[in-house]
Each structure stands twice: as structure tokens, then as C-alpha cells.
Amino acid sequence: VIHPIPSGTRDVLPDEMRELRAITEAIRGVFESSGYGEIATPALEYETVLTRGDPRAADPAYKLFDEHGNVLVLRSDMTIPIARVVATRYASSEPPLRFCYFAHAYRSVRPQRGQAREMLQAGLELVGAPGPDGTAEALSELCAGLDAAGLENYRIGLGDASLYRRMLDRLAVPDGARPQILHELVTRDFVGLAREVEAHKHEELVRVPQLRGGVEVLEGVPEAAELLAVHELLEPETAGRVIFDLGLIRDLDYYTGAVFEVYDAALGAPLGGGGRYDDLLGRFGRDLPACGWAMNVERLHIARVGEGR
């Protein structure tokens, strides 16, 4: 008899579980030795709490009503729940605060795309450590975690979520033209981007977001000063993993500064990512700069198998 489960969800049987567990245990060891305390939060949150963090955070998720008619949402990531925990349970603790988690997150899927509705994330949040030092620490932990997970060929794309907006400010691009320009950038359409910025006569607007490579790509881009400062703080082994990407876009609105994604040639999509969200904690009443990342554990596993290990 076949009893179906929802598309985008899956059962994990012992052979796979053992391998997933080996990955998460190795990463947990890294977190522990660096002083990141593991926390768990409920899978269900009030919708009003999640949308306080990011208006879109509750949008793709699953909603239900509790017995009092409150709207509950399955969390779509762990960053907003941890921001809530910091503001409510650590309201007067001396920063920086270091947390890590291994938890499932829930996203809606497009039909027939084989996407996961439920995914296991391993991640950390570094609260109260401003950039560039906090960013460098998070990146160094990221490399340590990926090394421990057994990956050898991964690279980290490093960009800045505010870079392009600041460049539009510097070049005094009119407000009315910006939504369409940003739309082309977010949808990764450089043909459309070239068309939209043509009238503004600044070749930077189409050249800079296509820059990817070593630290030399930051030269001559005034908005990249923060990324340069991060680079100077990175240990050589971490710096060697970084590909600067001045067009890097993450799909959540709460990022304010450096953002990053992890790539492995064994997989056509990023293994995970993160960045700085210096405004998020303030929305919950404790105004602290913060930075964090989350890796998709199943994708780490696919990459590890793809690398032949």
C-alpha cells in the first residue's frame, strides 16, 4: 500500500540519517568549541511576530489558526525567531551573544519543481558584534563548519546587500526609475538591466553588479569599502575561499550589509547563505547589529556525495 506524503517532504531512513547525522555532529562540534550555544524554538510562531521581522517572512509559509483564532505560521527560517528570543529572553544580557541551531524550516514550493517544503538547516547567529569584525567571525565559523562537514571544493560568494542602492544614491538615479532597475537585478537579467540604466549614462550601473572574482574587483568601487574591511580581517584560508560578487542578491529583505552564499561545483544551486541584518533586532526592541548564516544540511550531503566522499 502506498500512503503518500506531501510533495517536497521526505522520509529519512537509517543509512541516509547516519550520514546526515555525521555532518550535523561535525558542525555542532565546531559551534561548541567556538562558544555558540545551541537553541531550539517552536516550529510554529505567531504571524504578527514573523512579519515584524520581515513583511515577507510569513508570506510563503504555512498558516493555520489556533483555538483562539490567532494566525500561526510555520517558520520559514530561524533568524527571526532568534531575534525574538534575544529581545525577550536576553533583554539585558551583555553582547555579543552567540547562538547556533539545527532546525527545520518551511517554505512553499512551486508545483513540479522538486523543491523542499521542509528543510533541515544548520546555522548560527552572532548578535551584538558589528561589521566588519562580526562578519569576519561569521565567515571564519562558516569555513570551519564546512571543513568539518567534509567539503573540500566549496567557495563563498561575498557581496553587499546595500551596495547597489548606495551606488544609485551616489549617481543620483531618480527614485522613479529605481524599482524597475532593482527588479532586473533581482531577477538576474543583465540584458534588462542594461536596457533600464541606459538612459542614466553610468556604465558602472551595469558593469559593477557583474563583477565577480578576487579582492581586485573591489578597486574603484567606493561602496565596497566595508567588503574591503572584511577582507582585511579574514584569515588566509577563509580569504582563499571567497569570491567577491558585487551583484549578489539574497531573497530576504532584512539584510543590510555583507551577504554571502556557499557554492560547490557538485550542485547547481547554493548550499546556503547568510549576511548582516543590523536593523532586525531593533524591530523587536533590542537594537543590536547582527550577522548569521544557515546551511541546508541535505544540500551539504548532496555536495559531499558529489565530491566523491
Partner: protein
């Protein structure tokens, strides 16, 4: 020898000839592709051939690093995570809204019935277009010759791609509205776009110069 060590998804069909001509100018040996239309994978040249509408699927998954396909395909599959790098200029065509000639039956249906029926192979483009222009349309997805649908009374209008308009004319259809223009585009997988950044940038420069 492949182009810059990249694997390229090549569209069969209307875009194939111009694509192979472009590859010739880049110094890729395409004679095997030209002489063998059953073989699909040309490992030495780094080429894989497929239907244009499959190109975004292979490129998004990383089974090909880069690919060439029409803007029409990319608009229909707008949710694909691929980079659109270059307008290659060839394969020009237009996405149009057409009906039988004479009185416009779609306008009549809209006025009297409040909704028109539209057949297309591009349901997302069609739905977006009528939503944007404030008209209610019932989209009927067909896989084969769309021109047949309005002639048999299945629908009042069609949304389809046309290069010269000949097929439409021969079936007694006229273009009522132009929705978008399309040409061939070079697309890239988001991970290859970072990990093979130098190779992809070199290729883009070579195509610009070719």
C-alpha cells in the same frame, strides 16, 4: 575543444542554425552537430542539444553551465534561477494576440460574456498580459498547432509566437496586439556564474566581438 571549458545547452529548432553559426565564429567545431540530428551530447565540443524550452531546466540545475534560448521561453519560465547575460540578437520574433479576421470575436466575447477564451502554448505570458491589461481571459493550454483553436470555435483568440506572420495569415488569422518582442539570449547557471566567472566573462566578451 569546448568553449572556455564550459558546457553549453544548444537549442534545436528555429534557433539552431544561428547558434551553430555563432559557435563557428568562436572556433567551435560544429560539423558533427550539423551532420547528426539524432545525437544529443557532443562531449568534445562541450555541447548538449535539446528543445529550447528545456534549456532553462538544464542550466538552472547546472547540468549545463550556460545555454542559449529565446526570450519567449525565459519569460514563460520566469521563476527559473538563471542569469540572463546577453541578447544575441538572432531569432527575432514577436509574441502576439491574434484572432480570426473581420470583426474581433474576442472583443465581442469580452463585452457580452465578460470573459474571452484564449489558446496558447505560453499560459503564463498570456495570463500575465491579460491581467496587466485588465481583461478577463480563460487560458486554454494546447501543445500542438495553436492556429487550429480559433478556427474550430475552441477559443476566440490565441497568444503565440510569430516571426513572419505567414502561418497566421494562411489560417485566416490577424494580429490584434503585440505583447513582446523576443530574440535569443545567453543564460548561465548561478553557481557556474561564480565558480567559472572568468571563463563566462571571456566567452561573453568573445561573443560581443564575434
Amino acid at each position: 575543444v569546448s568553449i572556455e571549458g564550459l558546457r553549453l545547452a544548444v537549442p534545436r529548432g528555429a534557433l539552431l542554425g544561428d547558434t551553430l553559426d555563432l559557435l563557428d565564429r568562436l572556433g567551435v567545431d560544429t560539423s558533427e552537430v550539423r551532420s547528426n540530428d539524432r545525437k544529443l551530447l557532443f562531449e568534445d565540443a562541450g555541447l548538449v542539444t535539446m528543445r529550447p524550452s528545456d534549456v532553462p531546466t538544464y542550466v538552472e540545475a547546472g547540468a549545463a553551465d550556460i545555454g542559449i534560448t529565446g526570450k519567449d521561453v525565459l519569460s514563460e519560465q520566469a521563476e527559473r534561477h538563471v542569469y540572463e547575460l546577453l541578447d544575441l540578437g538572432f531569432g527575432p520574433c514577436r509574441m502576439v494576440f491574434a484572432t480570426v479576421q473581420g470583426d474581433n470575436p474576442a472583443a465581442e466575447a469580452l463585452r457580452r460574456l465578460g470573459v474571452m477564451r484564449v489558446a496558447t502554448k505560453y499560459p503564463k505570458i498570456a495570463a500575465r498580459y491579460f491581467e496587466r491589461t485588465g481583461r478577463q481571459a480563460e487560458i486554454v493550454e494546447v501543445k500542438g498547432s495553436v492556429e487550429l483553436a480559433p478556427l474550430t470555435g475552441l477559443v476566440e483568440g490565441i497568444v503565440d509566437l510569430t516571426a513572419t506572420g505567414t502561418t497566421l495569415r494562411e489560417n485566416g488569422l490577424v494580429i490584434r496586439e503585440e505583447i513582446a518582442a523576443s530574440t535569443a539570449r545567453l543564460i548561465a547557471n548561478p553557481v557556474a556564474h561564480k565558480l567559472k566567472a572568468a571563463a563566462i566573462d571571456r566567452l561573453v566578451e568573445r561573443i560581443r566581438a564575434a
